[in-house]
């Protein structure tokens, strides 16, 4: 249970009594995993770029330069230019906000809904549980991102719709994970005590049970962001996402694909950025899991 508290404390930033300070213990353990630390540093870096990106680009990401169409990487344009002579580096930097924002929003939305469903299913059990889990089964019957593709096919293309698609695709796995975690916590003595002193179901669920599922939540959320970036960029690549004028990683790559033979840098750089970002989230998630999971220590 100490680890669960640790995780909860790590998230809320609460300082626990100095004597054992689980937060410090956690930080110390985590810092020992170098790959995870590198992942975290890269995530922080890319988040900063997402916030300030549009203001620090060397060129206007939408500025046409017909004198330098499909130019390869050079001192002037370090990642080359696209078919309209737009600076690829500037477009990728400016597009960080949209690409990362889409994946993060989709993950947060999908996770939130999944967590609430999982809490309800695990806490109330019975018919409610069966119903929620059967709905999840139906969603799981669509292989991979096919559910997201089907949703985008219904509601039409566009970056917001990709976000919705990826969010819905996230819901069932979180509902299952959190339900499992709730079932483990529900039998604990402190939950029984809370109920016996008259806690209302809502309070028991969110104040007493939810923190117990934190560990599973944090690790899976981190892993999920990487997956969401991949799913969103895949949908974008398939042409269901951002319009050609929007600077977005998947869209830049999708456009660049048409010039693979003459301008490979158009595909190389946006893909590399997607790869490194996903890798960072996966390394960080791996590190978190290893630090939080007492079984592995």
């Amino acid at each position: 249970m100490a680890d669960t508290k640790q995780a909860a404390a790590a998230v809320s930033g609460e300082e626990l009594p100095k004597a054992q300070s689980p937060v410090k213990q956690f930080v110390k353990k985590f810092l020992r995993r170098k790959t995870a630390v590198i992942g975290l540093l890269f995530i922080i870096f890319i988040l900063i770029i997402a916030v300030i990106g549009p203001h620090i680009t060397p060129y206007d990401p939408n500025e046409y330069d017909y004198g330098a169409i499909l130019a390869g990487p050079s001192a002037k344009h370090i990642w080359g230019t696209d078919e309209f002579g737009r600076d690829v580096f500037s477009r990728i930097v400016a597009g960080t906000q949209l690409s990362l924002g889409t994946a993060l929003t989709a993950s947060v939305l999908g996770t939130a809904v999944g967590v609430v469903l999982g809490l309800i299913a695990g806490f109330f059990g019975g018919l409610v549980d069966s119903f929620i889990m059967r709905v999840c089964d139906v969603m799981f019957a669509f292989p991979g991102i096919l559910l997201a593709i089907a949703i985008v096919a219904i509601i039409g293309p566009g970056i917001t719709n990709i976000m919705i698609g990826v969010a819905v695709f996230t819901v069932p796995s979180f509902a299952r994970i959190i339900r499992g975690a709730v079932l483990e916590v529900r039998g604990e003595l402190y939950v029984e005590v809370a109920q016996s002193i008259g806690c209302k179901p809502m309070r028991t669920m969110f104040v007493h049970i939810f923190p117990g599922t934190m560990q599973a939540l944090i690790v899976n959320f981190t892993m999920n962001v990487g997956g969401a970036i991949l799913s969103a960029s895949s949908l974008s690549f398939l042409g269901f996402g951002a319009s050609v004028t929007q600077a977005e990683w998947g869209a830049i790559l999708s456009q660049g694909r048409n010039y693979l033979a003459i301008a490979p840098h158009l595909v190389l750089f946006p893909g590399l950025v997607i790869f490194l970002t996903v890798l960072a989230f996966n390394l960080f998630g791996d590190g978190l899991r290893d630090t939080l999971d007492p079984k592995l220590n």
């Binding site: 059967r134 089964d137 139906v138 019957a141 669509f142 292989p143 991979g144 991102i145 096919l146 593709i149 089907a150 985008v152 096919a153 219904i154 509601i155 039409g156 990487g226 991949l230 960029s233 895949s234 690549f237 398939l238 042409g239 269901f240 790559l253 694909r257 693979l260 033979a261 490979p264 595909v267 190389l268 893909g271 997607i274 790869f275 996903v278 890798l279 996966n282 390394l283 791996d286």
Partner: protein
């Protein structure tokens, strides 16, 4: 065993029913009038009405559903508006291509993934383990479309070894299956490694070593046989990702398979084709999961009697 298989098949029926209803409702969930969208903005009211009747949208919902499912079962999956053919005619030449591609991908990725996982587990903490796990985490993080395009750039455009697209020759399958399988290879390597590490720490391993079994037998006959249950479960789950991966990779390599047909049909708003394909992919996924469950029962007798 037979009883277990029958039970498992019967338990699929309600899910199958719900999924078919969900996919059937698909065409009714599209905002606006699907008939109008198919006909285009400049069609007359009469033309739109004709399409509506052709699609059967004027009949009661239940009748429509029964006709649609009945059609699907008898091989009449509707008509493609953009290709002017029946859906079944569109699917027939494409299905073997996608299946072949999927089999190629799963074969190499499962083999290599398991080998990497076992080698990493035996050499836990050593250089080989580290190399294996670096490959695995990189493989999970790689966008398959980008991997496909980079492979195409290196081996087709620059070196000219493989075709840049199409599957007229067997060489055409190599790069796409590499791009499709990389993710699964990595996941399997990780699962195999952690499962093997867990099993290698068990008492029966110590016993078999103590009675003097050669190490290769200890690893393959005892540890790996137990790990194979985890490996099969994860492989079956990952087939879903593989099916979805075919959508992306077929688009990258211009392969005339089911996945690319889906992307094209969504683009053309050819909804009957989209409906049929999504139902088909879900069915395929469910059947594979069923097979995995049966295989699971063969390997692990405990499952059969639950």
């Amino acid at each position: 065993m037979g009883k277990y298989v029958v039970k498992r098949i019967l338990s699929m029926i309600p899910l199958l029913f719900v999924i078919s209803v969900v996919i059937f409702m698909f065409i009714h969930l599209i905002p606006g009038d699907p008939a109008r969208q198919i006909a285009g903005a400049d069609a007359t009211i009469g033309e739109v009405q004709a399409i509506r009747e052709e699609l059967g949208l004027t009949k009661p919902l239940v009748t429509q559903y029964v006709e649609w499912v009945g059609g699907f079962l008898t091989g009449d999956m509707g008509v493609s508006y953009t290709n002017n053919t029946t859906v079944i005619e569109l699917l027939t030449p494409r299905l073997p291509i996608t299946i072949y591609l999927t089999i190629c991908s799963i074969t190499w990725s499962a083999l290599l993934g398991i080998i990497i996982g076992v080698v990493a587990a035996i050499n836990r903490g050593k250089a080989l383990d580290l190399i294996g796990m670096v490959i695995a985490i990189a493989g999970i993080s790689l966008p398959n479309f980008w991997l496909g395009l980079q492979l195409m750039q290196i081996f087709s455009v620059n070196m000219g070894i493989f075709p840049t697209g199409g599957v007229e020759t067997w060489q055409g399958y190599i790069l796409p299956s590499l791009a499709m399988g990389a993710g699964i290879m990595s996941i399997l390597a990780r699962v195999t490694r952690s499962s093997m590490i867990e099993n290698l720490g068990k008492d029966y391993i110590r016993t078999s070593r103590a009675k003097g079994l050669p190490e290769s037998k200890v690893i393959m006959r005892h540890a790996f046989k137990n790990s194979s249950i985890d490996v099969i479960t994860v492989t079956a789950l990952q087939i879903g990702a593989l099916i979805a991966g075919s959508v992306v990779v077929e688009t990258v390599f211009s392969i005339p398979g089911m996945g690319r047909l889906l992307v094209d049909s969504i683009g053309y708003r050819d909804y009957e084709v989209v409906q049929a394909l999504i139902l088909f992919f879900s069915l395929e996924y469910m059947v594979i999961n069923l097979l995995a469950d049966v295989l699971y029962g063969v390997i692990n007798p405990r499952v059969r009697y639950e």
